[in-house]
Symmetry: C2
Amino acid sequence: MYVIFNSVSYICNMKKGRVTIHDIAKHMKLDSSTISRALNDSPRVKAKTKERIRQVAKELGYKPNVMAANLRTQSSKTIGVIVPWISRYFFSSAISGIEEVAYSQGYNVIICQSHDEYDREVTNAYTLFANRVEGILTSVAMDTIKYEHLEQFIEEGIPLVFFDRYAPEVKACRVVIDDFKTAYQVTEHLIKQGRERIAHFSGPGNLNIYKDRFNGYKKALEDYGKVFDPAMVYESRLLIDDGIAGIKHLLSLPDRPDALFSSNDLAAIAAMKYISKHTEFTVPKDIAVAGFSNSPGASIIEPGLTTVDQSGEEIGKIAAKRLIDEIKRDIDKGTNEVITVNSKLIVRESSVGKVSKLVKEAKP
Amino acid sequence: MYVIFNSVSYICNMKKGRVTIHDIAKHMKLDSSTISRALNDSPRVKAKTKERIRQVAKELGYKPNVMAANLRTQSSKTIGVIVPWISRYFFSSAISGIEEVAYSQGYNVIICQSHDEYDREVTNAYTLFANRVEGILTSVAMDTIKYEHLEQFIEEGIPLVFFDRYAPEVKACRVVIDDFKTAYQVTEHLIKQGRERIAHFSGPGNLNIYKDRFNGYKKALEDYGKVFDPAMVYESRLLIDDGIAGIKHLLSLPDRPDALFSSNDLAAIAAMKYISKHTEFTVPKDIAVAGFSNSPGASIIEPGLTTVDQSGEEIGKIAAKRLIDEIKRDIDKGTNEVITVNSKLIVRESSVGKVSKLVKEAKP
DNA sequence: AAATTACATACAATCGATTGTATTTTTAAA
DNA sequence: TTTAAAAATACAATCGATTGTATGTAATTT
């Protein structure tokens, strides 16, 4: 019979030098491999021994060092995420969904933000690579027009899944909503409310989502026999100031719009705020407004903002599931598959009702 | 002279087996230790050799494996963050600030969410420990009343810094705003607008921030000679439904309030929405409303919500700086130091102006 | 009781980098 | 030219776990 517990207290007092399986092994006069197998519940260790080992491990305050395990097993159990801004509602909810799925499957998540800048995105990609992430989830920066930093992952066999904003050139799965279709529906809705001159806030043309939304908008106009007027399109980065500048510009035109479809909620809300504070127009009477994304602000503003519901959480979850699937199955990588997540038009008061007389008068 | 580049293409084609310093060493007929030193710019390697090594490393597509380096150096260059919800604006902006500082100092950030549940917080803490994070930043869950899972870090010499919500029992630095003082100011402001019956939405009593805000509210009432009426305090988890239920309840009282100070914006906005949609009262005429945190919605809602500006980004940055300081200096750990970040009352229309006649009449 | 099998555990290499010490090469001084 | 000192590089152990192989012991079969 061994008496092994009397030195336990001594070991526990050792501050820095964490307890390793070798310490346990020494204490129990066993080999570290047996400890490892026991703690991993291998059938190669007797049940009774396992129990004893677990007991001692607990008493010694053993905590596994996953870094060591990962090095040995050549797996990091980590996935990397690059988003433009963590604090944007859409992205933070996507991250929330990603984290949810990842943790349930034993993966850690390392998060980086590109601040919508290409250079930072490249640095982030490098960091994630050095950390040997097993997969990447990303929504590309507004500034990104080269993609080698993303392609390197695919070349090395590390799966990559885009969500929301993707790089068409890169052969990777993408989880998106049908931007074209939903933008079409938004525009159609505005047309059906009797609007004649529908303006559009668009984002940087290199991003698919904005291109698609623009195309959906344009197609709807054409299908319903409205003239498409380039002067009605205001392209920007869709920040608050852009929304203000955009609406200011559009309302100053001789032939001003009677509706606005913004490619995101942020700019739409900024525009609405500007209209109600600094102009004599009212929403929706004089100008109907619709946004995109259904951010929390859309249901707070008065009148409620018509927008497109796009659940970041759901998109994040689906993207994470797909990524982990690719990691685990170790196949199917590099397919260009497109996963389309449901999105739907949410009609609120900002776009409903007949256009006001004012607009008609303003026309020639 | 060596001719070493002709086999490079062969190596580059090797998919899985990543290039290591040993591969470079073999190719250059050098020792891996020299490669390591060269890539780390050690003075022990000749400048010319370094240049050659860097060149070959690049050609072979070498990417360092930080996991291996970390294991050897006993450092993970990673800090862990546990927040209740990533998608809450305050937390996502705090994370944004944390990430900002961390990356500038070469640290990665692993993020977990507790969903405001104790059990998940414990699991998260365990995961972060296993990943050998060098420090922890956390804002504790609403449900947390035991703290061993946090204390273990301090016991093991891993610095921990609280931000926003802290555990008073745990001997760790905390980065907070002066909740008592600002809550006092909010209440004072409402009193100065001539409000007589000020209600309060409070959060779970085990969380310092809500306790402090409540105490600030109470103290202001006392200082200004108002009676403190427990019936005017509604305690909840401050979610949207809680805000609705709370205002419903308060307005149904025989002696209803003429002002509301909510411990967060979410519930305040929910209450305002309820008031304008389902009652005959108006804000601020019949009931003034103030919130806490200055979330984006506060400036979107009409009338604008009076609230307290509390920059998540700044708090996150300061907390991260402090944590990294503790990690690096390897001293000063376990001090109970409190770092107070500026916060200030933002007065908007929701609380300004004289109280309406209606209220006076309702009084005895 | 001898031989065979199954079971439990030990040994040793390995993952990819870092780092103290030893050795070789180069340079400078005698 | 010989030798000492300095510079450049090689050797080898290490971080903490995992895992294929070897070894020893107990259980089973003949």
